[in-house]
Symmetry: D2
Subunit: 241 residues, 4 copies
């Protein structure tokens, strides 16, 4: 907090939150509004949502997709490098993978504060706009759960942007969908992948490697580099990788 204030990003405490105690608000160099808090209200399920197994918060979902937990957030940034450094130095996160092009420009970064291989991803915003969201990701228990999710999205007219497929970077199995308001959501499964080595060295993907697309050959689609929220008219977008 002192550190955030020292560099001018701190914005003070926000009281009266739903589900958690006061949160400290701040921005990053790309003007994303961020908050951190510690004290949380533990979920107390109503009678009909009490689980059969007491080591889970709520009843096993018998309907819809059955998301298990938030996995990570992906931020679009006009300046990936500055935002990445902020996450490392001010928030104490570790970089696990990066995309750095031949001219040295950082195109994307994945950082973690836990044993998950990433909690935050940062991707270049081709429109040059600051502070936008790329997507929020929820984890499910298996790749099969994602295939089932795709069938449900089909029946419910949920727009599927791309997937299911496997990322080369981080190797997560994914499906990207848009909610009615236009925000992109990812449903993902990382298998048994965790970063347990305290001395993990970041994996750097080159421009050429990035051009190969996803793990099994699916091309990365242009909208993936352009669509973010809030929506902006495409300004200085550049050719796709």
């Amino acid at each position: 907090m002192a550190a955030l204030e020292a560099v001018g990003y701190g914005q003070g405490w926000k009281e009266n939150n739903i589900g958690h105690e006061p949160a400290y608000c701040f921005t990053d160099p790309d003007d994303h509004n961020l908050e951190i808090y510690y004290e949380t209200e533990w979920y107390d399920p109503p009678e009909h949502l009490c689980p059969a197994l007491k080591n889970q918060a709520s009843r096993y979902p018998d309907h819809v997709i059955g998301l298990r937990r938030i996995d990570h957030i992906n931020l679009l940034a006009a300046d990936v490098r500055a935002t990445r450094i902020f996450m490392e130095e001010l928030l104490g996160m570790r970089v696990t993978e990066q995309v750095i092009f031949d001219d040295g420009s950082e195109k994307a970064a994945w950082l973690t504060a836990t044993n998950k291989s990433y909690d935050v991803a940062i991707a270049e915003d081709w429109t040059g706009t600051k502070g936008r969201l790329h997507h929020v990701t929820y984890a499910v228990d298996s790749r099969e759960a994602i295939l089932r999710a795709a069938d449900l999205c089909l029946e419910h007219n949920v727009f599927m942007e791309t997937g299911p497929h496997k990322h080369a970077i981080q190797q997560t199995f994914f499906l990207y969908v848009y909610e009615p308001g236009g925000n992109r959501f990812e449903i993902a499964n990382a298998g048994a992948r965790l970063i347990l080595a305290p001395d993990w060295k970041p994996i750097i993907w080159s421009e050429e490697e990035r051009k190969k697309g996803q793990a099994w050959g699916l091309p990365t689609i242009p909208s993936f580099h352009q669509h973010g929220t809030p929506f902006v008219e495409r300004a200085n977008a550049t050719p796709d990788d």
Copy 2:
């Protein structure tokens, strides 16, 4: 029909059925009540159950277990052999697998009228009662769907008798549950297994092989040989594997 009447099992036509045209009624040597029909009313889903893909009958289930179709029926029989011969000779079914003990007694048989490896199974009723049901089986798309079904049964207090596990015989992945009335249901997945060879020779499992239990070592539980519907007090039940 003529054949069934000739041997005294025919019972005549039943009219006014729900969902299908008149059915011909008959019994087998073990007094099970059976019916066959041809003309069926195709399901016409209401608006909210219309599927996104027109090659399926109804909407992809977004809740509960999501059974896809009936797979087979398993009949308890006081006389497995007589019932098996009836299915072969009168109904034109083919035997695909059998359990025959060292003394030559037939303990179970699996028969098919399609390319599924079995449409009907017959298992010895230890109580010596005729005409009982062992279970009805529904197919789901994957083994993963059965694991999910187990989680749902746990949450909904559905009694799980045994499984999920893999049968040695027929190699089906299974979960057995009881519905509130006490009838046993199986949820099963056969993977890619089909009997496509027109000259398939029945697989015979010996007493010793049967004693090994299920494919991965799960013992076959006693209730599996005793519990049937309608329920009867255990009479002359005998020890088994």
Copy 3:
């Protein structure tokens, strides 16, 4: 055989085959070379490939992809309609699904001689060439097995043309790869889908429906309509659907 000769497609018996007795050879209207036979030599595995479970032909594969059985063949045809009618009338197959465009032209057909929803598929050859192969398909036990196959193909530099994804037509989960000689292979899983209704009515997909691509939104790629074997220079190929 008499029927095939009567219409001039019969070509006589071929002796000295590997693994099966004499086969009757014939062509279809699109000049594909076809053979049928009945008597087959059952596989007798060597000691080290004997399975633990006697109801399977060979040991469960502990390596590579683990294909379970041939599923179907897909033929490119200059004239889909003529080939489809041949399969129905001469080979006694049933049509389960079709693509028919607004001008009445048949673009593709799926036919079966079993309870599988298709044993043969016929797709229009955009180059106008007769007698080519689109692909041969092997079935695996689960969709998860196909995802694993994709990981193995990636490691072994096997070209993956498209997938894994789910077909809208027939709803099969698929992955298309090329073997080193250029032939296309599909690895597929149909879940619990079978055509068990003897009075199944063909599903007709329109031009507009076909344009939607695969089930979850993956576009059908151009090579899918052009690449076949033997390879030919693209001649009168037409715009993609």
Copy 4:
């Protein structure tokens, strides 16, 4: 280290290790030999094991079971409570779940030093012997991978003690096997389950809850409480669930 020495468990440094720098050796109150180290030699795969994706250590396994990483170790202990307290106080681990019987005796504990829900488990040794191993666990990417592992163990005559099934405690999907020397191994998948809450409160399972067996009803088998390595004749073993 100083802390371990202060309580008399420290044993000094071990040099000349394979794959890692010097390790500090110590015991716990139950006489298990333990070591900790930091500096590790990163795996440098030979040419033929280089992975297609540079963010994994080695080639994706195209054969056998395909274990992905060590998941946890389970120690038998004559005194569960003392060993649990040692892990908490000396090694800084957090308890996530426990079995405590009605008389207050601790029967089992699960502790973590990461975001995995357990890195070490401690289970009561019914024979009263100190210092034994219950099992070592490897993680795989999916539950489906464990079902495949069971098929492979069946073909390779690997003894499967129990499973595949789902633990009520920790909810891990499991399969227990013995290697030829008699040590028990678990192959497990935890789905998306992680302990991300820094203020997680241990889940306490009572005697009655423990008696219910595994999540879907599989009884906990007696050998699970008796078999450990090194092997000892059953001495003062007591009845249990």
